[in-house]
């Protein structure tokens, strides 16, 4: 589903909630990456940005408690609530007159809308072969095995009986491409945490990235991430910062990319570096 449509649906839901409950003075949503998803009309974006900045430290430090589920700030003139719903944060500000159930009700409505949007998104992906859906990589295994495979001569052209000169040239070019076919590795998806996470960058362990670079003899800056459902996308690649996560076969992925590929934490993906040829285009 288009991001705009999703945002529109959420914004409409938030507006309706606010219309139904006049005691809600402000309601908005943002992702774990700190990106504003939707807000009611009355809340200035600048205020939301300031709140997200202010919450950055708290959301990060709350890892001590296993991550945040709910924050309730009670003041003498109202209350602010922050709920963690499906990789996003819903913030509701109510006046002191508001019923305690207002927050529960808002959370339930938004949770339902989010689930509905996810299902619609899934249905759309299943019915329309979108541009991002590509054929899955047939061979995906340890880098060493694939490196061996890449070194094997490609025999496909030998099966063809007679080829013209131009076809021969083309076949030779294809062989070179095949020999330098990048290696696909499998990784377990892990959420990329923090507000300053680049939405277009995934992280894998330094050794894997180094191995790819050694085999390609060039710096790898982009990879293709592919799900086992066949969806794929290109994104930037960087090494994992935390040394404790090295060698665990995980890929740190921002929520935006997870949503795009209909992925969740813990799922398996195939990742292959983008070759020079792919970089340059056909």
């Amino acid at each position: 589903m288009e991001g705009d449509l999703r945002s529109f649906a959420l914004k409409s839901a938030l507006e309706e909630v606010r219309n139904l409950c006049p005691d809600i003075s402000s309601v908005f949503m943002f992702t774990e990456d700190g990106e504003i998803t939707a807000s009611d009309q009355g809340t200035p974006e600048a205020s939301i940005v300031r709140i997200i900045d202010a919450l950055d430290g708290l959301l990060e430090k709350a890892e001590t408690m296993g991550g945040i589920e709910l924050v309730t700030i009670r003041g003498n003139r109202g209350e602010a609530n922050l709920s963690h719903i499906s990789h996003e944060y819903l913030t509701t500000v109510t006046t002191e007159k508001a019923d305690q159930n207002v927050n529960l009700m808002t959370r339930s409505i938004i949770t339902t809308v989010l689930r509905l949007l996810e299902k619609m998104n899934l249905a759309q992906v299943q019915t329309t072969p979108a541009e991002t859906i590509t054929k899955p990589v047939e061979s995906a295994g340890p880098a060493e095995d694939l490196a061996e495979q890449a070194k094997q001569p490609v025999e496909q052209s030998l099966e063809k009986p007679e080829t013209t000169e131009s076809e021969r040239v083309e076949t030779t070019v294809n062989h070179e491409t095949a020999q330098s076919e990048p290696l696909a590795n499998q990784f377990i998806v892990e959420n990329a945490q923090g507000m300053l996470v680049a939405a277009d960058t995934v992280r894998v362990d330094r050794d894997t990235l180094q191995r790819w670079e050694d085999l390609q003899n060039r710096k790898i800056e982009e990879v293709e991430v592919e799900t086992f459902g066949g969806q794929s996308t290109r994104c930037k690649i960087k090494p994992i910062k935390e040394t404790k996560l090295e060698g665990k076969g995980i890929i740190q992925m921002p929520q935006k990319i997870q949503r795009l590929l209909n992925l969740n934490k813990g799922e398996l993906v195939k990742v292959k570096p983008i070759t020079e040829q792919e970089d340059d285009g056909p």
Partner: protein, 130 residues
Amino acid sequence: MTKKKKETGLTSEVTEPIALHLTVSESDLRAKLEGIKGHEGVIGYILRNSHSASIDLKDPAKIIDYAVLSSSAIDASEEIVDQFNVGDIKSIVVEGKNAKMLSMIIDENRISIFMEKSVDVETLKNALSK
């Protein structure tokens, strides 16, 4: 010095009651917190003001983590109440997947109580407000 103090009676009249009030309030809070610490599921507390800080946690390895969390929660909440005109902070409850934290600002004292998820926050609030 003693003579000077006697001469400036106004100064001693102003400073002494404030000092006395702070001491009573802080010691009173500390006593309440000690009582709360005995509640089932309470992990510990942090009491902080401009001149002192007391931390009592069952797991000393988490002192820094919890101190930073407490401070971050109060700072973020101050920004939120300021932006959305919610008034003065009465209480902050942060619920994580494994634990909960109740923070309150009483006079100049910033209190954070850490507890297991099963603990009823309202009971602790009442115990602090008595």
